[in-house]
Symmetry: C2
Subunit: 356 residues, 2 copies
């Protein structure tokens, strides 16, 4: 078990060694550790190696000039200058919040960025300003649209955070596929099958093989099949892609660049890097903040008191499981599996910093 | 088969007889007929009776004063004065578009409204202004959150319309449940079962009975069960509810009033009427309009050329099926089932207008 502070300092040091400023390295470490605390380990320490390898391959810029390239009172387009995603994303969300302070809402589309960790981190940034926060991003293509066998979209997540008064905030942060990709890797490592409805084989036939992506298979959209609404998941994924890439001028759909160095740079480019989309909505642009947040308390209490089914003790509010994990992991420490620990030891040795 | 113009004029006359202005009656008829054309008959002529009965019961206002009650440069809250939903919604979307012209984006939350027909109609209004249109609404509770057997939410739809250049626009318009409620009614009338994954019984057990809502059952959220991502459908439904009701001051979740007169007025009120949420985003607040729309053409062409699976000839773009239906129904006419025709004849007789 590792303490939060130990992993935080280590992560910060890794990125400072890669040329990021102290401020930027702090942001990056915050996002990695936020993922670990929330039990989204698939976006946590396991990913440090990916960023490190991209940096060694000179495919990512650790000294970027992130800048607004176009704006209106409530909108902006940001060029991330091929930054580590967290750096471009954090600055973009700050701009959305600034816009919202003046115009009521702020909306920022970001191009020329890279994988930014968990979307929820940026949505949550809005809460302390009594704003709703929104964050979308596209991602490298693994998912087939309804009726298709081509990998056209990423797991394109949506995160929305809504402040309340006495209750903890409502925080939704989810991929627009039935599962995150990491779940397939976990099943593969355990030698287990996955339920039908997550993936299909190269011919579009149902599959329960978590390794099927290696053999021409693809992930399915939320809904699973047409009868159960996969076309709605396809709509959601598409909207995330359009907002992230067409608004910003980033690569869309099948042209989103890989977030790992072991996959080659794509031959065809239709824009700049990976795209994100951020929103900040001042709640007092609609209702007095106290009234809105008190009403959200009532909403949360109402849904929390819904009758559970016979297999469950309670009905959850989006954000509940992650908050419980956060408290537990902060108290008990964060566990890293041996393979990840070994990777980090290698990186530490190469960068001449300590890790054990 | 009925011609578009015949049903349009009839519908307009019905609402004028109910006291709506000519302009408002025209809007209402447009929305009803848009649903019929797009093969969303569940939101078409079948619903006229519901509005008529609500009016007879004095539960809906046909002479409303729809007004802004709060605003910022990019936002407004609108009070619908218990109007027929189409009247409040059309005005609200116009306000969102006006806001977007000045601030880049416009966002309107509407309270004290009623059922407004198809959400897509209002999203599509933005297209002619080179804007993306967004429309959400909450609805009377039929849907259980993940792990629950309580009906807490409506089928809470999301509609988003995105303009393109040579290609037709991208138009997504979908309930945040695997199916719209109307599909259950159709299966019931045919005496058929429905696939598992749409509904559960009063104990939360899987059911394939389309009549189960009458016996304490509930609809499931998009995803169906927890393993297949129903918590993501629950997040989506919740977000639609929060944006529609908490931003506006409408009733939320289980307190959304029924849209039919045969169900009693709810005892508990937590806000005013039904709530909607509208967004308009000027695309040149992000990219020059020509550039954006040309890129959308490329997006659409890319996805249209995805490889179909063995059971399908082509991959669809959101909006394709409805556009094909629109052309067919405008050309060949609109079919009404006998029961609906009988209802309309009764209404026509009571209001002293012609229908046959």
């Amino acid at each position: 078990m590792y303490q939060y502070d130990y992993l935080f300092d280590f992560t910060k040091n890794v990125f400072m060694k890669m040329g990021c400023s102290e401020n930027e390295s702090t942001i990056i470490a915050e996002v990695f550790l936020a993922a670990e605390l929330r039990d989204h380990a698939s976006h946590g320490m396991i990913r440090i190696k990916d960023y490190y390898e991209l940096w060694k391959a000179k495919r990512i810029n650790t000294n970027p000039h992130v800048a607004i390239v176009h704006e209106s009172p409530s909108t902006a387009v940001v060029d991330g200058d091929n930054a580590i995603g967290m750096v471009a994303a954090r600055r973009s969300m700050e701009i959305a919040i600034e816009k919202a302070k003046k115009a009521g809402t702020g909306w920022v589309a970001t191009r020329n960025s890279n994988h930014f960790g968990i979307a929820g981190y940026y949505a949550i940034m809005a809460l302390e300003f009594d704003m709703i926060g929104i964050c979308l991003t596209n991602a490298n293509p693994l998912v087939a649209p309804t009726f298709s066998i081509s990998r056209m979209m990423g797991t394109n997540p949506i995160a929305i955070a809504v402040p309340a008064m006495k209750q903890p905030p409502f925080i939704a942060d989810f991929a627009t596929t039935p599962i995150a990709r990491g779940k397939l890797a976990v099943a593969e490592k355990k030698g287990e099958k996955v339920p039908f409805g997550f993936v299909q084989d190269k011919n579009g036939l149902p599959s329960n093989d978590p390794t099927i992506l290696k053999y021409g298979g693809s992930m399915l959209t939320l809904g699973g099949d047409r009868i159960h609404g996969s076309h709605k998941g396809y709509c959601l994924s598409s909207i995330v892609d359009i907002f992230s890439a067409i608004f910003s001028g980033a690569n869309f759909g099948p042209f989103v660049p890989p977030s790992v160095a072991y996959l080659p740079v794509l031959e065809k480019k239709v824009g700049e890097g990976t795209g994100h989309f951020f929103g900040a909505m001042r709640i007092d642009a609609f209702q007095p903040a106290t009234e809105f947040k008190t009403k959200m308390d009532e909403w949360i209490e109402t849904f929390r008191s819904a009758k559970p089914d016979q297999d469950h003790e309670k009905v959850l509010i989006p954000g509940d499981p992650e908050r419980e994990a956060e408290e537990r992991n902060m108290r008990d420490g964060i566990k890293l599996v041996p393979a990840i620990k070994d990777d980090l030891i290698t990186i530490a040795r190469e960068l001449h910093i300590d890790f054990d």
